[in-house]
């Protein structure tokens, strides 16, 4: 348990804007990642941009939180949280990509999708492959 600690109410102007900048960058990279996951044509391409949320999106936002807490126990906690996200998420992303490969989801490669990745997504990606191995 962490003792409830009031946010340091006297954060300086520099620190305030640093926090705003960090949170802004965090939101920006998560936005890019969300756009990517919605736009990109197949599961493998989406996994790339999903790792943007895990790295810089979460990284900047949690860094902002840590700066706000200052030199306290809660900041150590936040860093630990970030460390966990960094360790576990690539493993999870790899597991998902590999499970897609094993269930026979074909990747959309450059030769196949020339102009309209969105349209080719509907054609190339097979629908539900329920645990079917190759």
């Amino acid at each position: 348990m962490i003792e409830p600690i009031a946010l340091q109410s006297t954060v300086g102007t520099v620190r305030f804007w640093a926090i705003v900048l960090l949170l802004g960058l965090g939101v920006f990279f998560t936005l890019v990642s969300t756009v990517g996951v919605l736009r990109l044509p197949d599961i493998y391409a989406r996994a790339h941009t999903a790792s943007q949320t895990d790295t810089l999106g979460a990284g900047f936002a949690l860094a902002g939180v840590a700066v706000a807490f200052g030199w306290q126990h809660a900041a150590v906690y936040t860093v630990l949280l970030l460390f966990f996200v960094f360790i576990t998420n690539p493993t999870a992303a790899h597991a998902i990509a590999r499970s897609a490969a094993e269930t026979g989801v074909e990747p959309v490669l450059t030769e196949e999708n020339a102009a309209e990745p969105e349209a080719s997504a509907e054609r190339d990606v097979p629908t539900e492959t329920d645990g079917e191995t190759q």
Binding site: M1, F29, L40, P41, Y44, S51, L56, H94, A101
Partner: protein, 344 residues
């Protein structure tokens, strides 16, 4: 009666002596003369820094085993053949081992394989059960040597190795507990010690499958700390490149599958490399087999970075030291190629 030909794969275990003894005894029961093939399967190619050391260890083990066989055979008619196999190919799973044993057996007309119950080549986890399954699949006759299990885990170095593992696991879990709790509160200190003790006893062997090295392991941790800023810098660069591509309305992506033969050992180093590659946006490890990584890349810039092997050099620096980091990039040594979707 024709000579009985036996294949005995050796590895440095507690029970290897008893296995050799059993092989000689059972072989001589069935036939008058025995041809005993002692082999050591080397898990890696000589390219890895530890390669030479492993070759030496293998030679030592083989000469010891030859003496054992001569000792057990006495006056009986026993021919001994020794060999190291697999040095020129990647050996990873039990299937690879079963296959090279089968190839060897075919070549030398082997009747039966005698397996050490603790057979454990290299640093991989024990693989007796999967190995037996693979041998059955291939149809190679095998026999598990009956050994006294009481000697298990008590080899000479076992004492300090076990202590190292227990100590390291204890330290990690205690540290984690105290970060979550309050390091100045006596109750947390006490319960933390108890919990970390239980964790260490029950999970030390699961956490560290490879024996720890008292000098090397802490150095690796320190080097890893130096590796983190470099990894973060690569991640930031890749993030910006990928963001620029995704946010452009035309979205000029060029997804491709590539295969890279890495020069890092299976296990923790390969895991670290594969995770670093996945963590960098633009490259995603789809499969990691042996030392081969199948990597999906989103944009040409990310593919070039991958082929330049910056992360691979970093991981080699972490695990093998500064000298080992200076190797040619995968592109230069022709270990990277773009493959089609059928490789999945």
């Amino acid at each position: 009666m024709a000579a009985n030909r036996l294949l005995v794969p050796l590895s440095d275990t507690v029970t290897v002596r008893q296995t050799v003894g059993y092989a000689v005894q059972s072989g001589l029961e069935e036939a008058d003369s025995l041809e005993c093939h002692l082999v050591v399967a080397l898990p890696y190619d000589g390219d890895v820094p530890e390669g030479d050391q492993q070759l030496e260890d293998a030679e030592g083990l083989l000469s010891r085993a030859r003496n054992w066989v001569e000792e057990d055979a006495g006056d009986a008619d026993v021919t001994i053949e020794t060999a190291t196999i697999g040095a020129d190919e990647y050996l990873f799973g039990p299937r690879d081992y079963a296959e090279i044993f089968d190839a060897y057996a075919d070549e030398h007309g082997i009747d039966r394989v005698i397996i050490d119950p603790e057979y454990q080549p290299g640093v991989t986890a024990q693989l007796l059960q999967p190995l037996e399954r693979e041998l059955e699949r291939i149809g190679l006759a095998y026999d598990e040597a009956p050994v006294e299990r009481s000697a298990r885990h008590s080899r000479l170095a076992g004492g300090t190795e076990d202590f190292d593992r227990l100590f390291a696991t204890f330290l990690i879990s205690y540290g984690f507990y105290l970060v979550l709790g309050d390091p100045t509160y006596w109750f947390d200190l006490l319960t933390g010690a108890a919990v970390a003790g239980i964790t260490a006893i029950s999970l030390a062997r699961v956490t560290f499958t490879v024996p720890l090295d008292r000098v090397q392991s802490p150095i690796r941790v320190v080097r890893f700390v130096f590796y983190i800023p470099y990894l973060l810098w690569e991640i930031v660069k890749a993030n910006i490149a990928v963001s620029a591509v995704i946010l452009r309305p035309s979205m000029p992506i060029e997804p491709s599958l590539t295969r890279v033969n890495t020069r890092v050992r299976s296990g923790l180093p390969l895991t670290a490399l594969a995770n670093s590659i996945t963590l960098t946006p633009g490259t995603l490890t789809v499969r990691a087999n042996n030392q081969q990584l199948l990597v999906h890349t989103l944009i040409p810039a990310a593919r070039d970075d991958l082929f330049d092997g910056g992360l691979e050099k970093g991981i080699r620096f972490v695990f093998y030291g500064r000298e080992s980091a200076a190797i040619p990039s995968p592109r230069e040594r022709d270990d990277a190629e773009i493959v089609g979707g059928e490789e999945l």
